[in-house]
């Protein structure tokens, strides 16, 4: 039934898929937290951040990838590298998504926690760093789980730019074999095997910590 060689060939696409997903998640994380905090602390910055969030929420990430690759690529040489271009586009979108996840999580932390931190003489930044964000992070875990799944799935857009990730491998296999469906079905199973456990794990981890600390 399943030719082990076909499966091995498909598996070769998995590292690139995971690399794109986790690197873009990292970029999104590094962008999302400061943006969420900045939106809380400075209303004047808010408009700029909101515009960024709206753009990446409202426009398909594939369009951004193509814009970056064919448009900006002429001016920004590293965007001419398909892998980098895919990571940057997905990372920027993830920043927009993660900033919303963290904003919701920060808002869910009891307002009195900030008051209590300030009453000890902490600056607002210290209060965020030591009191608000650690609690917000726990609340955000399930959302971050969905975000990673989304990135693993959407990393398949990199296929368009020719990145040798999982979907591209499936496509190559389809062309090389006589089966039109099987390579994609196997890829589908591999995607599920990556997305589901991660999302599930972060969800469980989040609920466990929430119970432990009595967070809402």
């Amino acid at each position: 039934m399943i030719d082990p060689n076909d499966l091995l060939f498909l598996l070769q696409g998995v590292p690139a898929t995971l690399a794109i997903s986790f690197l873009s998640f990292g970029i999104g994380f590094a962008l999302g937290i400061p943006i969420a905090v900045a939106r809380q602390m400075s209303p004047s910055l808010s408009y700029l951040m909101e515009a960024y969030e709206k753009a990446f929420r409202g426009i398909p990430v594939l369009v951004f990838m193509l814009l970056f690759y064919f448009g900006l690529g002429g001016f920004v040489p590293f965007l001419k590298d398909p892998f980098t271009c895919a990571v940057v586009a997905l990372g920027l979108r993830s920043g927009a998504f993660q900033s919303q996840i963290f904003r919701g999580a920060i808002n869910s932390v009891d307002k009195q926690q900030m008051m209590a931190a300030l009453s000890l003489g902490m600056t607002k930044t210290e209060a965020f760093r030591y009191v608000i964000l650690p609690q917000a992070f726990i609340v955000a875990l399930p959302g971050l789980g969905s975000e990673i799944s989304l990135l693993i799935k959407d990393s398949s857009y990199a296929f368009i730019l020719g990145v040798l990730e999982l979907t591209k491998h499936a496509d190559i296999l389809r062309k090389a074999s006589r089966s039109f469906v099987f390579p994609y079905l196997m890829a589908a199973v591999l995607y599920i095997l990556m997305t589901f456990p991660i999302a599930n794990y972060l969800d469980k981890w989040g609920s466990r910590l929430k119970t432990k600390y009595g967070l809402r």
């Binding site: 009891d110 926690q113 008051m115 209590a116 000890l120 003489g121 902490m122 600390y213 967070l215």
Partner: protein
């Protein structure tokens, strides 16, 4: 020496004037108790004195310095004013010990070792040292509140403000918190307390202050306030509070 004072304090939220001109001061070593019906502005007053909220009008003085007028560093002064909240507001992701240590490390820049030592000593004072490694969610309301007191006390503040620290506790838990507070008052800690625990006021307060509708109606030593208040409003409120007349 005057620790905390205010002059002509007003606070307006939208159309609502919560504080209508308050003059107040408290000296080092004193314990003052604020009483008054709900909605009288007690909590707002306390938050403004704790520099957790700016007044709409009027001045707040910390050790003689005009806090908002001289543009002082609010964080540095807040570190010297302890605040105990009605809902203890412990940091929920930290153990009792870590709750007390956080301010010592982040604000007072103590080493971990120093902070642990100081925090354990303070937890012992409020009889919570045996619960040091428990998370707030695992503690009773009274225990949480005692950790809240330890968290404020460990900073060695010049004054501690208490905002109805027992209002959400049942009677036995109230006693354990009140006992700790009496202890602090006897140790000479300067305290400004919003509470209706009149026994506490009777035993340790130097002055009882009655607030109503955003004003201080009357203030005086407990014996005088409880036995022969001067104003009709004080007679009426205290009469009800003491459950008679």
């Amino acid at each position: 020496m005057e620790v905390l004072a205010c002059k002509g304090l007003r606070k307006v939220y939208g159309d609502l004037e919560v504080l209508k001109g308050i003059d107040f001061s408290i000296n080092k070593g004193e314990t003052k108790v604020i009483i008054g019906p709900s909605g009288s502005g007690k909590s707002t007053f306390l938050r403004i004195m704790g520099l957790l909220e700016p007044p709409t009008e009027g001045k707040v003085f910390f050790e003689g310095k005009d806090v908002y007028g001289e543009n002082l560093n609010l964080n540095m002064i807040r570190a010297k004013i302890g605040f105990v909240f009605q809902d203890p507001s412990l940091f929920r992701h930290l153990t009792a010990l870590e709750n007390v240590k956080l301010g010592l490390k982040v604000v007072l820049k103590m080493s971990d070792e120093e902070a642990t030592k100081k925090a354990m000593e303070t937890l012992k004072l409020v009889r919570m040292d045996e619960w040091a490694d428990y998370y707030p969610a695992q503690l009773s309301g009274g225990q949480q509140q005692r950790v809240g007191i330890a968290r404020a006390l460990a900073m060695d503040p010049d004054i501690i403000l208490f905002d109805e620290p027992t209002a959400s506790l049942d009677i036995e838990l109230t006693w354990e918190v009140i006992d700790v507070m009496k202890d602090l008052a006897r140790r000479g800690i300067t305290m400004l307390v919003v509470t209706h625990e009149i026994g506490f006021a009777k035993e340790v307060a130097d002055e009882i202050v009655l607030m109503d509708s955003g004003r201080i109606v009357e203030s005086g030593p407990p014996e005088q306030m409880l036995k022969s208040p001067k104003t009709e409003r004080a007679r009426e409120f205290l009469g009800r509070l003491l459950g008679g007349v």
